[in-house]
């Protein structure tokens, strides 16, 4: 598969990517939902880590999961660990407003691919989508 220079921001190349947004804050859910739609994606949105785990247990898989850290019922660290233990190969990106290095490190060690401090920016999403498309390209070539 050959990618153009702006593939990450191309709606056409992103439209087949499945995305899950996991956040207990309705404002953040609405923001991230719209940010991702801006890139041609149609995310599914849930309120806590348990809902994300339940979806995976039902057989739903996602190319990308945006995971908040602090959530009731099941937080992002617990949910990420559970998903990885169940064999989830999604790209899981932590998004947290707790930005101390030790807190982000702990979140990363749960099984994240990347961790960003809130708020998400278009540049961060662009980076994530580039990484996703690169991984996709590698899988195709292997």
């Amino acid at each position: 598969m050959v990618l153009g220079n702006d593939a990450s921001s191309s709606s056409l190349s992103n439209k087949n990517l499945s995305v899950l947004v996991v956040d207990d804050d309705p404002l953040i859910r609405m923001l991230h939902d719209n940010y991702l739609k801006h890139f041609g994606l149609k995310p599914l949105v849930v309120e806590n880590g348990k809902e994300a785990v339940d979806l995976f247990q039902l057989g739903t898989s996602f190319d990308l999961i945006l995971m908040d850290k602090e959530m009731p019922i099941m937080n992002g660290v617990e949910a990420t660990k559970a998903l990885r233990d169940m064999g989830a190969t999604s790209m899981i990106v932590g998004v947290t407003s707790r930005g101390s290095p030790s807190e982000m490190q702990a979140f990363m060690e749960a099984g994240l691919d990347f961790c960003f401090e809130k708020p998400l920016t278009f540049d961060m999403i662009d980076f994530i989508l580039k990484e996703l498309n690169v991984n996709d390209d590698d899988d195709t070539n292997n």
Binding site: D25, I28, L31, Y35, E70, T121
Partner: protein, 146 residues
């Protein structure tokens, strides 16, 4: 009022919101998301922010007036408030939330009270300024179609 004048006033108001430190970059991203499919997106996000933050302010006030003060709970509320504020680009509010959390971690009740008054003040000022700005934007948009 003349369309150009309305647009000029709205642009001037917007510039002052950034120059005075009330808003920063994330607000620009919100504006970029507003389009024909979501013509009121900025207003919707701002409304949601103020609904959510009003509840958080109430919770913080209750927690500050409780004895003994639960600083962990206070920090959790303010962490959430800070997160929302930063996500819409409410820079002054977010910065004061950081100050509050520093007092929280030091269990400095007096500092928390003082800082919280500043948070509420900055929050209220931003709300008034955004209401005026967004009304100007709406008026300018309507005048374009007449």
């Amino acid at each position: 009022m003349d369309r150009n004048r309305l647009q000029h006033q709205a642009a001037s108001m917007r510039r002052s919101l950034f120059d005075q430190g009330y808003l920063d970059e994330p607000f620009i991203q919100l504006e970029e998301l507003q389009d024909d499919a979501s013509p009121n997106f900025v207003q919707e996000i701002v409304t949601l922010f103020y609904t959510d933050s009003a509840r958080l302010i109430q919770n913080i006030e209750h927690a500050l007036n409780s004895r003994p003060i639960d600083f962990d709970k206070l920090d959790d509320y303010m962490h959430r408030f800070k997160g929302s504020s930063s996500s819409i680009g409410a820079k002054k509010v977010m910065n004061e939330c950081t100050v509050f959390r520093e007092y929280c971690s030091a269990e400095n009740a007096e500092g928390c009270f003082r800082s919280f008054q500043q948070v509420k003040q900055d929050h209220a000022i931003l709300r008034r300024k955004l209401e005026v700005y967004l009304q100007m934007v709406r008026q300018a948009a309507v005048s374009q179609t007449t």
